[in-house]
């Protein structure tokens, strides 16, 4: 019991220390270029935390990142590198807006359900292609998802212009397809925070439930760790490959729906793949694949992302600095072996001291 508690503590300690070290690294870099790191961080944090509006915005951003992060994580757990989260998010976004625009007058609960459902299906299908090819032909999911990213990008732009509208931006969806929650909007002084937050919390719980408490999750984990032994034990590796990619893509598609309906309420032509997809990878890594960890790391990313906007005007520091800090944080998460080593050394020194007394 004690040992598990201790390991849980160090599992918490590592991301926290990584975040600290990341900030310190950023500060050093800023000093090197003659910027004032204190001003910069103050601008970033105060910018967000001094205003309910920006807290709301940070959470809104975090909400979408939670979905993309979880999406990446489940594929990763099952042994796949789903680099196609961005494309799956995009097709989810398209599907949600398409459905919402097609049936503007349906009752809200129904319209939201089918819009979001369509997005999940779209994302799942998009990732499912890669999963199926992997399962039946052994085709590298890395290549297929990269290729499907670009395919999604071009198809999306085509659909917007040729199917949904003639311009670059679709109409706004009707009120019935809005995710906004009155009291939350009011509380955050009009931010775009939306019911995606609650969906995210539910999904975090469901993800945990699925992975640790269900037989299907057990299979996904087992197949991810040792497909041969899992096959021997009567699990279907093929089925689980496809299943985990479907869930992965479904989560990304759900993120697309929340982003589309919640953040924008419409869809517009994209010149590149949404960065939320790739940041989802970072979020998953910082969260160490744990759903609650992913949720909190999404919030950190949301704050950094929204707060970064304050740095140029209030501290004169280019907002690229925020990305550098994020990269540094992930670096330390990755190199946690060193952090662990130092922690262990400190611990053993302590116990040695105690023992000596």
């Amino acid at each position: 019991m004690l040992t598990t508690k201790q390991s849980r503590l160090s599992a918490l300690l590592i991301p926290i220390l990584s975040v600290l070290l990341g900030f310190i690294f950023g500060a050093l870099l800023m000093l090197l270029f003659g910027y004032n790191p204190i001003d910069a961080y103050q601008a970033m944090l105060m910018g967000v935390f001094n205003s309910p509006y920006f807290i709301g915005e940070a959470i809104r951003q975090a909400t979408v990142l939670t979905f993309t992060g979880l999406g990446f994580a489940i594929a990763f757990k099952a042994g796949f590198f789903n680099i196609g989260i961005a494309g799956q998010l995009l097709v989810g976004w398209v599907a949600a807006i398409w459905v919402a625009l097609s049936f503007p007058d349906l009752p809200r609960i129904i319209l939201l359900t089918i819009s979001i459902g369509a997005a999940i299906v779209a994302g799942a299908v998009w990732a499912g292609i890669a999963g199926t090819l992997r399962a039946y032909f052994g085709t590298s999911e890395v290549i297929v998802t990269i290729m499907l990213n670009y395919t999604a990008l071009h198809l999306t732009n085509y659909i917007i212009r040729s199917v949904l509208t003639t311009g670059n931006t679709t109409d706004m969806v009707s009120e019935n397809a809005s995710l906004s929650v009155g009291w939350l909007t009011t509380l955050t002084q009009g931010s775009r925070i939306n019911m995606g937050l609650f969906i995210a919390i539910i999904v975090v719980f469901l993800y945990w439930l699925f992975m640790t408490q269900t037989t299907a999750g057990f299979e996904v984990r087992a197949v991810g760790l040792n497909p041969d032994a899992s096959t021997y034990a009567g699990m279907s590796a093929k089925r689980n490959i496809i299943l985990s990619m479907l869930i992965s893509g479904g989560l990304a598609g759900l993120g697309g729906a929340i982003h589309g309906l919640g953040t924008f309420g419409n869809l517009f032509t994209q010149s590149g793949l949404p960065s939320l997809g790739f940041n989802g990878i970072a979020v998953a890594l910082l969260g160490l694949g744990n759903p609650v960890g992913i949720f909190f790391s999404s919030i950190l990313f949301g704050v950094l992302d929204v707060g970064a906007g304050f740095m140029p005007n209030r501290a004169g520091v280019p907002d690229e600095m925020a990305d550098i800090v994020i990269a540094a944080i992930i670096f330390f998460v990755g190199a946690n072996y060193v952090i662990r080593l130092v922690l262990d050394k400190m611990k053993s020194n302590k116990t040695a001291e105690k023992g000596g007394e």
Binding site: E57, Q61, R161, T166, T169, S191, F264, F268, S271, F310
Partner: protein
């Protein structure tokens, strides 16, 4: 500000700021901010042009950056609305959204803040507290078409668009109309890169167009255009006998056209977003905010322009002629071909 020189140089001799500078130098309590689209403030396109205009206006009025004038940079489309709100919190009198991508965001914050004044560039908002500044890009493109048709030796010219859509369609329509106006035997080869980023695609399309006989390409495709210039430069450097030209967009792209042995930027169409923003600001100070209005900046208002560049004297006089006709209404330049 009809001259198509490098924007940062031209600011010192900018005529449009002179119009306003003398009268408004006292009104230091007025402040202006802009929110960029994803291109950022130094995109060497309309964001940069808008910012240079605002910056100059601020300096002329002895304002400080950060209180009297400011920009808010968007790295992602989801930054638009928060950036408006940041500008709102910082208390600017007018906040401009630069580029059609910001329309929905402007409308949204305009609804939430009915007493605040906003501007949108390149699109039209129907809100009462928003002034819409549009540009008759098709007029400048028309002149580019005239210049191209009159300059081509092969009777074939090309147009490369970025991502298909209304805005770029305006360029294409104007250009095609200009070509037809000058010489309807000249063919226009139209292609879209479906990207604003991948210069490699620009280079491939340009290679195809040149190989297929076009000798002038007009691009309206952002960074994809870099590849168009590269292909033209490569061809000119390996075989300088057959003159090829590129027509730049949004700002004077003369610099991009330098090659061993000359310059191949025939001309560039300009979009003087800075002028328009300053003009509408001045109007707001002097006559009250033109909320709900749409101000279309065309050739006549110096909102769009074609630079002289490397256009020959003969051709330039045809261009001048065409410009007169457009301004005085003899020629009505079509805006859209988009119909499907």
């Amino acid at each position: 500000a009809c001259s198509g020189e490098d924007a940062s140089d031209s600011s010192s001799e900018d005529t449009s700021t002179e119009d306003t500078g003398g009268e408004t130098s006292e009104s230091t309590d007025f402040s202006v901010a802009m929110v960029t689209d994803e291109g950022g403030v130094d995109d060497r396109s309309f964001n940069q042009s808008a910012w240079e205009g605002i910056e100059q206006w601020g300096k002329d009025n002895n304002l400080d950056e950060g209180t009297g004038y400011a920009y808010y940079q968007s790295d992602d489309s989801s930054d638009f609305v928060p950036n408006f709100n940041q500008a709102l919190a910082d208390g600017y009198d007018i906040i401009y959204g630069i580029g059609y991508l910001l329309l929905d965001s402007v409308n949204q914050v305009a609804d939430q803040n009915p007493d605040q004044h906003f501007g949108i560039v390149d699109d039209i908002s129907d809100r009462d507290n928003v002034v819409s500044l549009t540009f008759k890009d098709h007029q400048a493109a028309f002149l580019a078409g005239v210049a191209a048709a009159e300059t081509t030796e092969t009777g074939k010219v090309g147009f490369i668009g970025g991502i298909k859509g209304q805005v770029i369609d305006r360029f294409q329509t104007g250009f095609e109309a200009g070509v037809a106006h000058a010489d309807d035997s000249v063919e226009v080869d139209v292609q879209y890169a479906e990207s604003f980023n991948d210069a490699g695609i620009g280079q491939q399309i340009a290679a195809g167009m040149f190989s297929n006989g076009a000798d002038i390409i007009y691009h309206a495709a952002g960074a994809v255009g870099n590849g168009v210039f590269t292909e033209a430069r490569n061809r000119m450097e390996s075989n300088g006998d057959d003159q090829l030209w590129v027509i730049g967009v949004d700002r004077d792209q003369e610099e991009e056209g330098n090659y061993d042995g000359g310059n191949l930027t025939l001309t560039s169409t300009l979009k003087e977003v800075g002028n328009a923003v300053v003009e509408s600001t001045t109007q707001a100070i002097d006559e009250g905010f033109p909320g709900g209005e749409t101000i279309a900046y065309g050739l006549e208002k110096g909102g769009v322009e074609l630079v002289r560049g490397n256009i020959s004297d003969d051709v330039w006089s045809s261009v001048e002629e065409a410009r007169e006709s457009v301004i005085n209404g003899d020629i009505e330049v079509p805006e859209f071909t988009y119909s499907e």
